[in-house]
């Protein structure tokens, strides 16, 4: 039976997908066909899938790092937004300022600003936990809502576009954005950056001392403390790294896709990183797979608009059911430990 295990995830996901379509009374075969062609029908479909899965992958990696360190960061959304905001502030000075800075300098600087922004927002929650004992689950969620309002304020106030007509920041010129493979496709350099980051996170968590300490603190903080690991500092580090990854996701969305910030900048990407991380078994490389699958669902679901207005919200249902199914199966397996024949 053991060889069936790897099949469980895709088969289970497919069953959930079909069930969701049936429950919402959509024509199953036609919808599936639309989903597949929308996500992988041609090179445009593949590019859509890759682009949609990039923020999912990065925020998912962020969740992996935090949760492995025992910090239930569910504030990816806020860190994503604040990352984007920091990037937009830097862009305001470097790209739209009187200085004529070439793109090969502005792009890395903007991305670094995004990383710092996300890290700062996550650090706040980590600090509140370490110093004041405020539960990370609660503080990160509250910080999400605060970040959304700060974004709304910035886009209609200090960062608003120069004509002051719509609540958006200035649209970046094409040469200040991440380079694209071709003009017709959305596929941009950020996709590759995300893949590289996934490998880096894997090496960090499983091949470095710092990553080992982080996992140990998450597994058993008392044991870590007994081994003279500075638990609080490690927890703060986990939060900051997690926030950096979510901020980077915001930066890549800003420089790769959006080009400007508005109140709809984050389509719940930060929040959706949680299912990606959980279904990736909190493993950076498996997250490549789960982010790819959910990215494909998002890419494909745009075409579902032909049958229903629901679209992307259906993907939330599928993700939630997938997590519940995964949790349920895992709990059952934990309950009856499999005795391996010796």
């Amino acid at each position: 039976m053991k060889w069936l295990r790897p099949l469980l995830f895709p088969v289970g996901l497919f069953v959930i997908l079909v069930l969701t379509l049936v429950v919402f009374r959509l024509p199953v075969l036609d919808s599936l066909k639309l989903l597949v062609t929308g996500a992988a029908g041609d090179k445009f479909g593949w590019s859509r899938t890759a682009v949609k899965s990039t923020p999912l992958l990065l925020t998912g990696l962020g969740m992996v790092v935090a949760w492995r360190g025992g910090m239930y960061n569910i504030g990816g959304e806020g860190q994503f937004i604040v990352g984007g905001l920091f990037g937009a502030i830097v862009a305001k000075f470097l790209v739209f300022g009187s200085l004529h800075v070439p793109p090969f300098i502005t792009i890395p600087l903007i991305l670094i600003a995004c990383v710092l922004g996300g890290a700062a927002w996550a650090w706040l929650a980590g600090w509140l936990y370490v110093r004041r004992g405020v539960e990370v689950v609660i503080s990160t969620i509250l910080l999400n809502f605060i970040a959304i309002q700060v974004l709304g304020y910035a886009c209609s106030g200090p960062l608003q576009e120069m004509k002051k007509q719509v609540p958006l920041t200035d649209l970046l010129p094409d040469n200040a954005m991440l380079p694209k493979l071709s003009r017709q496709m959305d596929l941009h350099l950020g996709v590759v950056i995300a893949w590289v980051v996934a490998i880096l996170v894997f090496f960090y968590l499983f091949r470095t001392r710092s990553g080992y300490r982080l996992r140990l603190v998450g597994e058993n903080s008392n044991m870590a403390r007994a081994n003279r690991i500075q638990v609080d500092r490690t927890r703060l580090l986990a939060m900051c790294l997690s926030g950096s990854l979510c901020g980077l996701a915001g930066g890549i969305e800003y420089l790769g896709m959006a080009g400007q910030l508005g109140s709809g900048f984050s389509q719940q990407w930060g929040f959706l990183g949680i299912p990606v991380a959980l279904l990736g078994g909190l493993h950076p490389l498996l997250c490549l797979g789960s982010a790819g699958i959910f990215g494909a669902l998002f890419a494909g679901s745009e075409d579902l608009a032909r049958f229903t207005q629901a679209g992307t919200t259906l993907v939330y249902v599928i993700q939630a059911m997938a997590v519940l199914g995964y949790v349920g199966i895992k709990a059952q397996l934990d309950r009856r430990p499999v005795v391996e024949p010796s």
């Binding site: 539960e135 910080l143 605060i146 519940l324 309950r335």
Partner: protein, 286 residues
């Protein structure tokens, strides 16, 4: 009149928080509270829209919240799964189900959706009265009844509760369902009393604010209720700050309740008064 409107602004958070006191006293954090409130708001509105009867809407809201709570309870009690993971998933499920049904039923059109509201006399509606009465009732149930003692034992030291012949998970299920009932009232209050309408993700973090207020109110119904009034006051400022002549961006005023919730948590900090076995699943030893 001023006080009644304050009660109205506070009611969604206050109701959810009073229910959450019971839940947390039994040793469970209902992270899925937000989702329960959201489905209650939506299905309350939907039932009211199709029957034109706000009372049927209220009933549907409560049933929806109870179903959502049962799903949560199945995972965290029967399967002893992690409460944060399950709560996050059920919140996402609620967001997806309500969003999908809302969009497919009413479309993406921006026409104003309006349903009949629960009637109120001089601004006082029946749910508000239930809310005020529930504060002493919950206190009495927890502090002065045998059931309340058993529930608190489950939250403090479930092994002892189990050893004295109580079923830990049954008591926790009972508290969760009562909490779900309150979440249903809270969600219905948003869509059927305050707005008379529905919007996607209407609860906007109120469930989490309620959880924060339970911590701030030190798990005591009266304090928790007063803490929720503070949030209600912060919410009410959104609608009044311009008449006070404050020259601040309105986004700041919308963010204010969240900032207040965060600040009070910082203020109370680490406390020893939380139930001892909070958020720890309990499983009988074999």
């Amino acid at each position: 009149m001023e006080f009644i409107s304050l009660l109205q602004y506070s009611a969604p958070v206050a109701l959810a928080a009073i229910g959450e006191v019971l839940v947390q006293k039994s040793g469970v954090i209902n992270i899925g509270l937000e989702g329960s409130m959201l489905v209650a708001s939506f299905f309350g509105m939907l039932a009211c829209y199709s029957t034109h009867n706000p009372w049927l809407g209220l009933g549907a809201a409560i049933i929806a919240a109870l179903v959502m709570t049962l799903i949560y309870a199945f995972f965290v009690l029967y399967l002893a799964a992690d409460q944060v993971v399950v709560g996050t998933a059920t919140n996402l499920l609620a967001l997806g189900v309500t969003g999908s049904l809302f969009r497919s039923t009413f479309g993406n059109s921006s026409q104003l959706l309006s349903v009949p509201r629960i009637p109120a006399i001089h601004g006082i509606d029946p749910i508000m009265i239930v809310m005020i009465l529930s504060v002493p009732v919950v206190w009495f149930a927890l502090r002065r009844t045998g059931w309340g003692l058993a529930v608190r034992a489950c939250g403090e030291y479930p092994k002892a509760s189990d050893a004295s012949g109580f079923s830990v998970n049954r008591l926790r299920l009972q508290s969760l369902l009562l909490g779900g009932l309150f979440a249903g009232l809270a969600g219905a209050y948003l869509s059927l009393v305050i707005a008379g309408s529905f919007a996607e993700n209407m609860t906007a973090g109120r469930g989490f604010m309620a959880i924060a207020m339970v911590t701030f109110g030190r798990w005591k119904p009266v304090y928790v209720f007063l803490a929720a009034l503070l949030i209600g006051y912060a919410v009410s400022l959104q609608f009044k700050f311009q008449t006070y002549g404050w020259n601040v961006p309105y986004q700041l005023m919308i963010a204010l309740p969240y900032i207040v919730a965060l600040l009070v948590l910082v203020l109370v900090g680490k406390g020893a008064s939380s139930p001892g076995a909070l958020a720890q699943p309990y499983r009988k030893d074999k």
